[in-house]
């Protein structure tokens, strides 16, 4: 059993070196036309998908870089970027 995360700078490292940074929700919404509703959706709402998804990580006890990876929440393992057709289902 190995829970590892691959840092783009340091390579594959122990998962406990990293901090989870949330689901990938795309770019931060523009200030123009911002509403409490939009901000609520961006800050609080999650897909909570049991399966493969794209998410943010931070190499806290390492080089300090922020990056995205794909991970399967049903198996708790980092996975390689899924093929394009499967990727469509990943938000």
């Amino acid at each position: 059993m190995s829970r590892t995360i691959t840092c783009p700078v340091c390579g594959r490292r122990n998962g406990y070196e990293f901090r989870f940074g949330g689901e990938d929700k795309g770019p931060r919404p523009e200030e123009e036309g911002m509403s409490p509703e939009k901000w609520f959706e961006y800050t609080h709402l999650n897909d909570c998908k049991a399966g493969i998804r794209k998410e943010w990580w931070f190499h806290r006890d390492g080089c300090g870089v922020w990056f995205t990876i794909f991970r399967d929440t049903a198996s708790n393992r980092e996975v390689v970027r899924p093929p394009e057709r499967e990727l469509e289902a990943v938000p």
Partner: protein, 406 residues
């Protein structure tokens, strides 16, 4: 010495229509079914459980009950929950093994003692017994505690909360299933909900892998899977993150802990079960996942934390470790809502690790909500809209270091 055994709940075939369908055969689902059938005459109810009843958080929590929460909105709910254990033991005719041993929350700094003063006062305002004691008094109550200045964080005092204790969690599952079944509710284990049918803005039915069900009411009480179900089947996302929480028990020992002892600073709680094992836990892996994996990382951490304030446990062996899922909200308070985003759809989730102690009382009020269609006062503060209005509850004193928020 053969004696006849009787099933606690009946096996029933899946009907094509019910007055209400409850997703999740955990404690919240079973309690709601029980109160719907018993109190509101809505006995044509089905509980749909993907695995078996009590598989999830209901059978994985560490069985601690208490009402020393922080906020005005939460306190009355947990107070009533504590009062319900003896009532339900009688009503269900099933021994829930409520062990009213009281909870001792240890504090290791002046700041924590100060926060506890407010916490205690809030409880007392709602008629909940809690009081502060100093380190010597802690030592008198639990002689095994180390109150010297040897630990990194010495004990300064504690909040003693006499009405809390331990309840046998499996017994609550079985008792509620027995009661719900007796009053006519159907329990379908090994049945997965695959879709929620909506017609003209109203819930019309539920699809399962065993067939379709017509129903005007659906309760999503699927615990850790609530948010996935809500987002996948209805496109309604929730402010939830699902994390694994781990717990473990030591080998059985002679009686040494007669209270639930916990420490926020060490992030550790411990109680001695009636079998003599020390049950302890509190750690969560700080990233969302749906597995019940356990890690050596936390066994080590737990051993270190526990032996800091209970040094006599050094060398005692851990016998078992297990994991369960906790659906965490940003303010550590649940999401209870109805008729949102469609009429007839109810949710009761986001309990994090407070789902056990709150299960029966929430089921009681959720049943009233579903039967009458109006939200009872006591549940109103937990509506999803609080996040839209950015009025989060202060159920945590500070951000805890294992949420995805920090």
């Amino acid at each position: 010495m053969a004696h006849k055994t009787k099933r606690l709940w009946k096996y029933q075939p899946l009907k094509s229509s019910y007055d209400a369908v409850i997703i999740g055969g955990g404690l919240h689902g079973l309690a709601t079914a029980y109160f719907l059938a018993k109190k509101h005459g809505l006995s044509n109810v089905a509980v749909i459980e993907k695995r078996y009843i009590g598989f999830g958080g209901a059978g994985r929590n560490t069985a601690i009950v208490r009402a020393n929460q922080r906020t005005q909105e939460n306190l009355p709910l947990y107070r009533e929950a504590l009062q319900l254990w003896p009532v339900l033991t009688k009503e269900l005719d099933f021994n829930l093994m409520f062990h009213n041993c009281g909870n001792l929350n240890l504090f290791h700094s002046e700041a924590a003692m100060k926060a506890a003063r407010l916490n205690t006062a809030s409880g007392q305002f709602h008629g909940i017994k809690s009081h502060l004691i100093d380190a010597e008094e802690c030592k008198r109550m639990v002689p095994a505690l180390d109150i010297s200045d040897r630990p990194r964080y010495p004990i300064l005092g504690a909040m003693y909360h006499p009405p809390g204790g331990i309840v046998r969690h499996d017994a609550v599952v079985w008792g509620l299933a027995k009661g719900a079944s007796k009053h006519g509710a159907h329990i379908h284990q090994g049945t997965e909900v695959t879709g929620i049918e909506v017609y003209k803005g109203k819930v019309a039915g539920v699809h399962t892998d065993k067939g379709k069900i017509k129903t005007p009411r659906v309760l999503n009480a699927a615990g850790a899977y609530s948010a996935d179900i809500s987002s996948r089947l209805l496109g309604a996302k929730l402010p939830i993150s699902v994390l694994t929480i781990q717990a473990m028990v030591t080998q059985p020992l002679k009686p040494l802990l007669n209270h639930v002892v916990s420490s926020g600073a060490y992030h550790c709680y411990a109680n001695q079960t009636l079998k003599g094992e020390i049950a302890t836990g509190a750690h969560m892996d700080p990233w969302p996942n749906y597995t019940n994996e356990t890690t050596a990382h936390y066994i080590k951490h737990q051993a270190e934390a526990l032996t800091e304030f209970l040094p006599c446990l050094a060398g005692v062996k851990f016998m078992r470790i297990w994991g369960g899922l906790a659906d965490m909200t940003p303010d550590m308070a649940p999401i209870i809502d109805g008729n949102e985003p469609v009429e007839g759809y109810y949710i009761d989730c986001g309990w994090g690790y407070f789902g056990f102690k709150s299960s029966t009382v929430t089921g009681k009020y959720m049943a009233r909500y579903m039967a009458e269609g109006r939200c009872p006062e006591i549940l109103k503060p937990f509506a999803l809209s609080r996040f839209k209005e950015h009025r989060l509850m202060g159920e945590t004193a500070a951000l805890v270091n294992y949420t995805p928020d920090n």
